[in-house]
């Protein structure tokens, strides 16, 4: 069907786009506009130019600190999550007994919501720290590593599934040929498995990256930024700027725009990398 009468076209598209425009697109455009204004509700906006952007960076160091904290967190999480997930995927593609059961267990935490995850780990981490007479809000490092552990528990199973699919798509002949040629397991891992699961590695790296950058619920439930605002990540800092004190709505919106540009750049780099890889192969 190359053409469709307009009334049918409207029948198929209007409900979705009505919802899309009202709940996403118009608020999105308004958000960009409001980031250049001073406002408390959306109806009393007054144009102030780039003042909000300047204030976001200069008034206090919250936003920059949150960005640094988020970047550090993302860097560590990417490495640990992907290493663990890849290792598990290797072990679960050898055909040993219980493979399905293990897969079920490792994937399960991924389905639990961020708020619930945060409180589960708060109990456990505080339960350990109480022996030293402190809790997770005592030092920013505790919150940081707590978030890393939590994120690993949640994401490893998910990435493992993607790696398993990648490993299983490698033709078995390759491994058989390597074995006949006298390659040991480490050699075939390095020369066959890793190069051929590169697409999965790219996907997983970017998934962990974007998920770490957008993390909110877990952050809110585990530490809520404590001590002070030291463990607040970007999304939480933006939320606090909006709703924490009056008169900062414009600054919050400006931070949100900067944050969106950050995330968009990450995604565009990923798409570009995928495309160049497709052309190469």
């Amino acid at each position: 069907m190359q053409k469709m009468p307009l009334r049918y076209y409207a029948f198929f598209t209007v409900p979705t786009f009505a919802a899309f425009f009202i709940s996403f697109f118009i608020p999105f455009l308004m958000g960009i506009y409001l980031s250049f204004t001073k406002f408390t509700t959306v109806t009393n906006a007054r144009w102030v130019g780039v003042e909000n952007y300047v204030r976001a960076f200069s008034e206090d160091r919250d936003f920059i600190n949150a960005a640094i904290f988020t970047a550090k967190f993302a860097a560590i999480s990417i490495v640990t999550i992907n290493l663990l997930a890849f290792l598990l995927a290797l072990l679960l593609t050898r055909g040993i007994r219980g493979t399905n059961l293990f897969r079920t267990v490792f994937f399960m935490p991924n389905l639990i919501g961020g708020i619930v995850l945060g409180y589960i780990w708060q109990l456990i981490i505080n339960g350990v720290l109480v022996n030293f007479g402190v809790d997770i809000t005592y030092k920013a490092e505790y919150g940081f590593w707590g978030l890393v552990v939590l994120m690993n528990w949640q994401m490893v199973g998910y990435m493992m599934i993607i790696y398993i699919a990648g490993i299983q798509s490698i033709p078995t002949e390759l491994f058989e040929a390597a074995e006949i040629d006298g390659a040991n397991e480490l050699q075939s891992l390095r020369s066959i498995t890793i190069p051929l699961v590169m697409p999965s590695i790219t996907i997983c790296t970017f998934l962990t990256l974007t998920n770490s950058f957008k993390l909110f619920d877990q952050n809110l439930a585990l530490t809520a930024g404590a001590p002070g605002k030291e463990t607040a990540m970007l999304a939480l800092d933006i939320f606090n700027t909006f709703y924490g004190r009056n008169g900062y709505e414009g600054v919050g919106q400006a931070k949100a725009v900067v944050f969106s540009i950050f995330v968009a750049i990450i995604v565009l780099v990923q798409l570009r990398m995928n495309r160049t890889r497709e052309i190469e192969s």
Binding site: F107, L111, A221, I238
Partner: protein
Amino acid sequence: MTERKRFEDNVIFGFLLILAILYLMPMLIILWNSFKGRFYIADTPFELPNAQTFVGFKNYTNGIEKTGFLTSFGYSLFITVFSVAVIILFTSMTAWCITRVRSRGSTFLYYLLVSSMIVPFQMVMFTMSKMANILHLDNPIGIIFIYLGFGAGLSVFIYSGFIKTIPREVEEAATIDGCSPIQTFFLVVLPILRPITITIAILNTMWIWNDYLLPYLVIGNNYKTIPIAVQYLRGGYGSQDMGAMMALLVLAIIPIIIFYLTSQDSIIKGVAAGAVKG
């Protein structure tokens, strides 16, 4: 199988078994603490309940009462089920239409929807919740409409990718037989979309069921979904009822585990398919 390989496999099995137990521990710890008195939890979470600390289901009755958990469960269930149904119905229609009707308008609409996936929620949360408030969408029915708007990007993207792989001949035959586009879609296309519909249903269910910030901002004051109820219980530091909290965490996890164990394969497949969401 050689002797050495068998030995290796046993070592790996042992390692995975220990890891799997460690993996389940956090959930088990929450479970046993939910049966302990509220003052025995925070300081000694790793101790099993004993005669002195065991309180039966007291935390559960307490937690359910404090947060109105049953009502929250009702809201979560209502919002999730109907939002997912609405998303499936309307986004499959839209995806089919803009994929099959090749025009500049279709291409534009497609990229408009798909690019919304990139934008983080913080970008629109303030303006969106004001908008919802002005248009009286700040109730459990209105929020379904908002979820349709937010879920459209990913769902249309996945549907569209699938639709491109089905041959047009069936649809053309239906048109020749006198079906209108609406009949063609509902009688011919929608049944073919079944496998991908399951994937989309699962992805959206997991998202909406666990979503915290959107419902908190839009309807949180009057209608508490489960994640909002959990967060609400936190209260200020020190005043938190740890017993009720543990019970609530268990109650929040149980539906997810049941859902997971009943349709595990589709869930794993579906969530992996959602890997495109960045």
